[in-house]
């Protein structure tokens, strides 16, 4: 039987008094990949940020359960420690914080116990090999002076190392070249069997490498259509207009 990881029902989210998510429902089970598509400004990142607990996004009504438990009371770091992960559309720069140090501390924070240096080194080596990343990354500062693609690759490195139960990937494919897209997809696919995945994207391209079980279209804060991978193809061809019209009828 499917193991439910995330359940959202009739969710309303507002930012600075403006409602952005307007009644959204979605269930994600373990091992499933859900692609979320939609125009710029439709509320995709808002949903991801609200799920992760960003204080600027207020949940006005509706329910979110993670592993069957409501998460409303959990702080951001508690959600992370419970296995939720967000790959940021715009990851923050952390001047002076070395990637290597950051990764180790982050694993320790999430697991709630110290990690042996040797174990960490082995995991890191394997993950960096998988993602074809150079060791020199480790002594750079987190996202400081990183190219767009490098930032995304570092997000996926964290995804692979932290082994979340719920992975939310916000436009991880944007800004990646063709080879990088393939490599990053390898990282995502390694996590998929053990997690529920919400993949926010504008392009069908990513779904050639990461097999989506469902594709949802978000328009004006609501999922207006859900389907299989074909839906992504159709959107690529036809855009969003046809859905909007139908929605109004």
């Amino acid at each position: 039987m499917a193991e439910e990881i995330l359940n959202i029902s009739n969710l309303h989210v507002s930012v600075e008094g403006t409602e952005i998510i307007k009644g959204l429902s979605l269930t994600i089970n373990k091992g499933e990949v859900h692609a979320l598509m939609g125009r710029n400004g439709s509320g995709k990142s808002t949903l991801a940020n609200a799920l992760m607990g960003h204080p600027a996004y207020s949940i006005d009504s509706g329910e979110i359960t993670y592993n069957g438990q409501p998460i409303e009371e959990l702080e951001v770091f508690e959600r992370a420690r419970a296995g939720m992960f967000l790959s940021f559309q715009y990851p923050s720069v952390l001047p002076g914080v070395k990637v290597g140090t950051f990764l180790k501390k982050s694993i320790e924070a999430v697991r709630g116990e110290p990690v042996k240096q040797r174990e960490f080194r082995n995991q890191l080596k394997a993950a960096m090999q998988l993602l074809d990343m150079d060791r020199t990354f480790l002594s750079r500062y987190v996202n400081d002076g990183f190219s767009g693609g490098e930032k995304k690759r570092l997000e996926i490195l964290q995804l692979v190392l932290l082994q979340p139960r719920l992975a939310m990937l916000d436009e991880t494919d944007s800004g990646l070249d063709i080879d990088a897209l393939k490599i990053v997809s390898k990282g995502i696919n390694q996590v998929v069997p053990h997690a529920g995945c919400l993949v926010i994207t504008h392009y069908q391209r990513l779904l050639e490498h990461v097999k989506a079980d469902y594709v949802h279209v978000l328009i004006d804060g609501k999922i207006v259509k859900s389907g299989g991978p074909d839906l992504a193809h159709k959107l690529e061809e036809k855009g969003y207009d046809w859905l909007e019209v139908k929605n109004e009828v």
């Binding site: 940020n49 992760m52 960003h54 204080p55 600027a56 702080e75 951001v76 770091f77 959600r79 992370a80 420690r81 992960f85 967000l86 940021f88 990851p91 923050s92 720069v93 952390l94 001047p95 002076g96 914080v97 070395k98 950051f102 501390k105 982050s106 924070a109 999430v110 500062y141 964290q158 932290l162």
Partner: protein, 468 residues
């Protein structure tokens, strides 16, 4: 620990004190007689007594600085300070001969472990004088002289007489005059021509007694083509009454020499830290002040470098942390007096819980100092609404061939950074700790790795204060 003690000590780990077992302790207060008594007790040559007495009179006449924090300065009661306290008969070369509580103190502050693993020599000063001293034999056999300043004067009077007060004259400022009058302890370090001291040497200054005034005097001479890294650390017990730390440090880097001077200043908040540090850099030499001010209630310190010879280079990397009831008034002064000299100044400050940090800098390029280059970067991080940061850069540029860059920024921790870190499992305090460690990284990366780790821990403890 009682609640009252906890209130005073707070998160400060080094606030404990040993019982006062001093063998000589002067009555509080300052006079010409006190100055003469200090000199007499040390059996000093007459010329040194004369310098002291002259400096004392200058101190009495000299007015208080009008910058920094005049409110606190004008409140100093010089009669409530102890000017000399001797804890042991002599400076020991074996820890076994040092009183046990003093041994333990230097154990607790981590000095003894560092001595055993990676330092070339140490001097441990406890109140007015050094209680322990060591130097590796290989350094001694190369002619390196590393002594506490009192021994330096006894054993090398000609060198001391030649250079004492030549970089920082007693008339420089009120506190330089005070130090010259009542100085005791500090380091005397001489590196012969061409000798490179690979392992850092360290002095540790510990204040133990209440109302103590610690006035160490340090002189470092790096002869032609030599190099050395000197580290100083300091801590003090937390008392409710004021202690005064007023040091003078003089460095001379001869042609082609390199001196790096690193400071980890972590006094308790009842210590006023009013220090004059200055270096002369001769032809093609390099002087680096790697300076941190984490503790003390008020610090006023502006490490200076006079670039006197062509091709000399100055480097000042300083960080300051101003928490509750702290004012860090720090900066750097670089004087380009010769052509083709270069300088690089990086200053970083953090203000939190109502703390106040001030950057006060001077960059001077004289008319005949052609083709000089200087870069100054000042970054301030303010962690809450109650805290404050000010920058007072002064530039006196005497010729147009100078290539100057100056950047200054004041920032706050962004909500996005915090959210990013918290989404990676860090609670707010841990996230702030990481951001603060990162902010100070340009400083910590210059420290030997053990001290960098210590420094980060220290900052994390400081961050625990008010959050959550």
């Amino acid at each position: 620990m009682s609640d009252e003690a906890r209130d005073i000590v707070g998160d400060y780990r080094f606030g404990f004190h040993d019982e006062d077992n001093s063998i000589i302790r002067f009555d509080n207060g300052l006079s010409e007689q006190v100055v003469r008594d200090i000199s007499a007790i040390k059996n000093e040559p007459e010329w040194m007594t004369d310098i002291r007495v002259k400096a004392y009179h200058h101190f009495v006449e000299r007015e208080m600085p009008k910058w920094g924090n005049p409110g606190i300065l004008n409140d100093i009661d010089f009669e409530a300070i102890t000017y000399f306290l001797r804890s042991t008969d002599s400076t020991q070369g074996d820890w076994k001969d040092v009183p046990e509580d003093i041994q333990n103190t230097f154990d607790k502050v981590g000095l003894r472990e560092a001595e055993n693993t990676w330092l070339g020599g140490i001097t441990a000063q406890y109140d007015s004088e050094a209680v322990y001293h060591s130097i590796r034999e290989d350094l001694e056999s190369q002619g390196v002289i590393f002594l506490d300043m009192d021994s330096g004067l006894r054993e090398h009077p000609e060198l001391v007489k030649k250079y004492f007060g030549k970089v920082v004259p007693h008339s420089d400022n009120k506190f330089a005059a005070l130090n010259t009058a009542v100085w005791s302890g500090g380091s005397f370090l001489y590196i012969p021509k061409g000798v490179h001291v690979e392992m850092p040497v360290q002095a540790y200054f510990r204040i133990n007694a209440e109302n103590m005034g610690q006035f160490e005097r340090t002189l470092i001479l790096a002869d032609e083509g030599s190099s050395v890294h000197y580290i100083e650390g300091c801590t003090a017990p937390s008392y409710t009454s004021t202690a005064l730390h007023s040091a003078v440090v003089e460095l001379i880097a001869m042609d082609g020499a390199k001196i790096r001077y690193s400071t980890i200043q972590n006094w308790s908040n009842n210590v006023l830290n009013l220090v004059t540090k200055r270096a002369h850099a001769m032809k093609n030499s390099t002087v680096e002040w790697i300076d941190s001010n984490i503790g003390s209630g008020l610090t006023m310190k502006y490490p200076a470098i006079l670039l006197r010879g062509e091709g000399a280079h100055a480097e000042v990397v300083s960080v300051a942390y101003a928490g509750e009831n702290q004012h860090q008034d720090t900066g750097a002064k670089v004087h380009h007096l010769a052509a083709n000299t270069t300088s690089n100044i990086v200053s970083k400050s953090i203000s939190k819980d109502g703390g106040r940090s001030t950057y006060r800098g001077l960059l001077q390029v004289t008319p005949k100092a052609h083709n000089c280059r200087s870069k100054i970067v000042c970054d301030a991080l303010i962690l809450d609404e109650d805290s404050r940061s000010d920058t007072y850069p002064t530039m006196e540029i005497g010729n147009s061939s100078a290539d100057l860059e100056h950047e200054a920024s004041v920032s706050k921790v962004s909500g996005d950074q915090l959210f990013y870190l918290m989404s990676r499992g860090f609670n707010e305090q841990e996230a702030m700790g990481l951001i603060v460690n990162g902010f100070f990284e340009p400083f910590t990366r210059e420290l030997p790795s053990d001290y960098a780790v210590e420094m980060n821990k220290l900052l994390n403890i400081k961050m625990e204060g008010s959050i959550g």
